[in-house]
Symmetry: C2
Subunit: 328 residues, 2 copies
């Protein structure tokens, strides 16, 4: 059976919630899990749980990469849980690694330690965005802030494989984020990317999409550089939180509105569930020789479990091999 | 008294709603208005209203720039209402022009016909964004998709004058949109812009802001290139509309939720008013030798009236002269 490494020391709720998520995952998957981090802490925490000892391994790491560390922390902190976990993937001791830690360090570290697939210029982070009709994949969600048109074209190819093989979307539609839908619109990057995407028959290119169209779900894959991707992801988070806080304020304004709040309890939950989903796993870093999944810094056990199941699915689907064939 | 030109033929509700907005403005301002467009249509429409004839002039324009026209339409359609309106400003027959027409054409046309202030590299579109605490000014909201750090620095200077002189914000705080708050974060453009903004003592630079912080209102001025600005504006529009449509769906799901909807009517209106404001005027195009204000393509009479009052305020505040002194 394949093995999956988990960075136990990364994230706001490390190490305890991360460990809990690993234990919870054992019932839902068949992989062996390699818990990477301070072995004293991990082994002591593991005594609190009853589980199949053959399916949990512990690999000691004496150092931790924090959120304040720079993107090249994997180089300077070679004994960190993230660095050691990435090396396990590089050496094929593990098929994949999951981390809730420092994103910049994970991208840079994964690129240098796990390595890119032949022909792939840059790996890409691919989170899901909620939409009216389900979810769309955002590439790039955070890996390359200074992108070229060639990178964006490759992201579209990689994401198309991913959506088909792992999320069962046949012939996924690719939209390029732009300031207008017309062909000639855009900045230099989007104009060049439009040309490359239009010319590629192997992807289902829908054309430009304006940011107002993103929530419609009209496309399955949303292509942009990581600066714009970051703005979309974080603005959605900040704006969504604000709208919900306004709704809360209005519902608690008077006895009348409090009654309305009670009557609308299920409805509010329905809307919240659309945005605060935690069972979809994390955002894979695609284009590498191994599986690397970033989960949100504030992930709790449920997110960890979701990501482990997700990585097991990637392994079963031979995701990396299938992406690789597109670049040969 | 000063004169203000209005492009009667631009926008979804042209010409009738634009004309109506002009007439409505007469009671609320003291300027003379120059209505630019098809004089047959305008004069016939004017017969429906009672108004002070000394304060309305009509300048004939035989052509119209449509939304489908390219950004250089002002050059190819010299007899369009937009081109003629801009020439009125250039020749000082009018102090400013308001248009609901093609944004790209307006920016390019205003730059070439009205002209930039000495020392200003590029004009900038400056719309207001709703926030928790009020409104923040977004620069650039749509003029320059391929910006340099020097442009962004100038936008911050121009916006600081505007916020102080026209919106009464003393010592306005300037935030640079970035992927992280730390100094070293960003793409090449944002890193260079950070250096220029930090080094300028004449502006109140707050530092980097992530997109999630934009709705907080922590800064008065939000600086980014027009590609990112467009993504923020349009994503807010699309995402906001989606959230409201979900709220509507939940409120109409059953008798119980319909009752909740009735009890919450004022609350929903409060939230909607935060986003669907139409009395704040339009987005000025700043850095030019004359006043140019873009109003939304779907503007009705209320928006037109708001923009006329706004431009009169700019004239009273000597906005252009005050911006100009920052570049001498």
């Amino acid at each position: 059976m394949s093995k999956i490494a988990i960075d136990i020391m990364g994230g706001d709720h490390a190490p305890y919630e991360i460990i809990k998520g690993c234990i919870m995952a054992l019932d839902k998957c068949s992989s062996t899990l390699i818990l990477v981090g301070d072995s004293n802490i991990i082994n002591e925490e593991l005594t609190k749980y009853a589980f199949d000892k053959d399916r949990i391994e512990v690999t000691h790491a004496s150092d931790i990469i924090t959120m304040e560390d720079s993107f090249n922390a994997v180089r300077t902190k070679k004994d960190s849980s993230m660095s050691i976990g990435l090396k396990l993937v590089h050496n094929d001791f593990a098929k994949g690694i999951i981390s809730a830690g420092n994103s910049g360090a994970l991208v840079a570290g994964a690129t240098s330690i796990v390595g890119r697939l032949k022909g792939v210029k840059r790996p890409v982070i691919a989170p899901l965005l909620p939409t009216k009709t389900g979810y769309s994949l955002l590439v790039d969600g955070g890996a390359n802030v200074d992108a070229t048109a060639e990178y964006l074209h490759q992201f579209a190819k990689i994401a198309s494989v991913y959506m088909k093989e792992c999320l069962n979307v046949q012939n996924p539609k690719v939209g390029l984020v732009n300031i207008g839908t017309e062909v000639e619109k855009g900045n230099q990057l989007s104009k060049e990317a439009f040309k490359l995407l239009s010319a590629d028959d192997t992807i289902n290119f829908y054309g430009n999409i304006e940011a107002r169209e993103i929530p419609s779900g009209n496309v399955d894959i949303i292509v942009c550089d990581a600066f714009v991707g970051n703005v979309i992801l974080k603005f959605m988070e900040g704006f969504g939180n604000w709208v919900f806080s306004m709704v809360k304020t209005e519902f608690t304004r008077s006895l009348k509105t409090k009654i309305a709040g009670l009557l609308m309890k299920d409805g509010i939950t329905n809307i919240k569930n659309k945005f605060y989903y935690n069972d979809k796993g994390g955002a894979p870093l695609l284009g590498l020789r191994g599986l690397v999944v970033k989960i949100h810094g504030n992930s709790k056990s449920t997110e960890v479990t979701g990501a482990i199941i997700q990585v097991e699915g990637f392994i079963e689907n031979n995701l990396i091999e299938k992406i690789s064939t597109k670049f040969n």
